[in-house]
Symmetry: C2
DNA sequence: GACAGTAGGTCTTGTTTTAAGACTGAGTCA
DNA sequence: TGACTCAGTCTTAAAACAAGACCTACTGTC
């Protein structure tokens, strides 16, 4: 299967991965969540090849996860900011972070702690049901084809 | 940066992505969540190159997300099943699926619907705080270095 | 006004990963 | 005996990535 054709699969996971499923994109977005905004900062913090960074940022802008905002005119300079669509990916990123904390942090503990401003506590992410509010795990869920299904999907 | 060295970064996202951040792994895990268990089934459903599939499955077994279970002896045949560590990734996968549903489903609607067995409703995933139980978004969170931090991380 | 520095890239070259598909080997079925 | 199944491995070519040189506008300093 070609990577580009993933976006045409009747599967929302495949479609999402067509955008953020390569090796660098989620790390670029992590930086964006940590308020990194400029090309040089991304490069310095990530250690990513400039060519790859350039391509990734352009794709994320194209897809509407980031927007390019001018912060000076002479010479023209832009910074990259998360859009609402980009912010919507937060649960995925925090989920991966907490999964890594749980399984790979080792004795020293988590590299970063996340505090919920509203309640003031360090938290971990919990998946809940939008309908009843209860905590969800894989075993509580059944799956069936929806209106956008063709043959098989997820 | 070398991909292999990602696992040594003081960042749980990087460590997680070192395992599941390549182009195929999350799709393989999706199939596992849909109860696909055998080499041929993965191949047929995903359209993945056999060589890549073989390598991914071995890595996922190595990392403890899947386990190889013999289901017959002559000839020896194994199937791949999710471990608890693999099941722990469910929030990430369902998060990507719902993100894709929201932003890429188009007019026809979601390819797959997920039902919460406990309450009987189709749901979407909601991220909540482990401490106070409230719904969380990126803007409600602050980040600071934890015990496993070195210089910078997330 | 020459020169260094900054910001945001592009280009080139060589290495890794993937894709596609042929091939292997152990065993079953008819 | 020959066809078929399952679970891979091997080969070759295409695509993606890493590293670093290079380019284009400016700005600020002497």
């Amino acid at each position: 299967m070609r990577w580009n054709s993933l976006a045409r699969e009747p599967c929302s996971l495949a479609r999402s991965l067509a955008v953020v499923g390569d090796r660098w994109t989620l790390l670029v977005l992590r930086e964006a969540f940590l308020r990194t905004r400029r090309f040089d900062e991304f490069e310095a913090k990530l250690g990513i090849a400039r060519r790859v960074l350039s391509e990734r940022l352009a794709l994320l802008v194209d897809e509407g996860l980031l927007q390019k905002v001018a912060y000076q005119d002479h010479p023209p300079r832009y910074e990259y900011r998360l859009t609402d669509k980009g912010l919507d990916l937060y649960p995925v990123i925090i989920g991966l972070v907490h999964w890594g904390d749980k399984h790979y942090a080792g004795k020293r503990g988590a590299p970063m702690l996340h505090t919920h401003k509203t309640c003031g506590h360090d938290f971990t992410s919990v998946l809940t049901c939008s309908e009843c509010g209860e905590v969800l795990s894989a075993r509580d869920v059944t799956v069936r084809p929806g209106p956008g299904a063709k043959k098989r999907a997820a």
